[in-house]
Amino acid sequence: MIKHLKCLLIALLLFCISVSASAVIRIYGLQDFNLGRWVLGAGSIRANANLCVAVRPRGPYQITAYGQGSGNSFVLSDAGVNLPFRVFYNDRRRPNGAQELNPGQALGGLRARRGSGIRRPCGRPNANITVLVAESNLSQLPAGRYRGSLVLVVGPE
């Protein structure tokens, strides 16, 4: 009897491992942020865009963002001059209620609400990302064209 129970437990464990390994996730519908032209007095620049995250089977997920600065910090750069920016993420398709992301640190407990199919275009976004470039940083910069990339990595929890 005990032997059978052990086998059952092992079977369940293997099943769980199998289920975990087969979970897939996808982040898509991402768009570039062209923040345009900034002049003194224009204030901080904030932009947001909706995107899609699909998890199969359904479940919570986490997101980690990596910038291209030192320690994965979020910076835009031009000719060696860095312009810091902040990133906010919401697991709903709106910027309100977004949580700030720290470079390289996972933000968990996110929920992929019903959205587009995992293999379909992002027709029904279910998340939102916001970038904020503070005026206090912008106003101390030499003129230039600052650019950078932001890598977003999602994984099921």
Partner: protein, 191 residues
């Protein structure tokens, strides 16, 4: 002879546009694929222009002038703030003009005109101020770095320059009585 004198000194903010087009050549965002994890990339771009602003200006109301009052002089501390790292700036003043110079510093009662003088100082107060020529840019004005930081972080435009108006007694004495007013436009640009 009574003359009411008012010089409108409007806020003239000048933003220098330096041929910096917004980004049209950002690499397209990359989309994540299916997998145990998924990653995508967003490109972000912003063009930052050299910019400068003059603020903290007020009107000059000289009130009533009577014969014997002499030359009228008043000054105002103002603020010039700009994005850092592009050195000095230039100042250009233009009045309402006259028949010879469209930028002449003049006050008018609708018929007659009075000429006045304008002085600019790249620090507060009038010590070291320099007289401006109508329509000409006086380059080499200095703004302190601390001022830039204060303006940027706290939104405080601390005065760091001075504009002075002088209406000579000779102009006033020879003018017909009336209320005279005019507009002085101050333009600041990065050198």
């Amino acid at each position: 002879m009574i003359k009411r004198l008012l010089i409108h000194n409007p806020l003239i903010a000048t933003f220098l546009i330096v041929s910096l087009a917004s980004f049209s050549n950002l690499q397209a965002a990359t989309q994540g694929t299916f997998g145990p994890t998924s990653s995508g990339t967003i490109e972000i771009g912003i063009a930052v222009n050299r910019a400068i602003i003059i603020t903290g200006l007020r009107d000059f109301n000289f009130g009533v002038w009577r014969v014997g009052d002499g030359t009228l002089i008043d000054n105002d501390d103002v603020c010039v703030a700009k994005t850092s790292n592009f050195g000095t700036y230039g100042i250009r003043a233009a009045g309402d003009g006259d028949g010879f110079d469209p930028a002449a510093f003049t006050l008018s009662n609708g018929i007659d005109q009075i000429n006045y003088n304008v002085y600019w100082n790249d620090q507060t107060g009038i010590a070291g101020t320099q007289q401006l020529t109508p329509g000409l840019i006086e380059h080499g004005q200095v703004e302190t770095a601390f001022h830039v930081i204060l303006a940027a972080i706290f939104g405080i435009c601390v005065n760091n320059a001075n504009v002075q108006i002088e209406i000579p007694d000779t102009e006033l004495s020879s003018a017909v009585g009336g209320a005279y007013s005019g507009t002085l436009t101050l333009l600041v640009i990065p050198d």
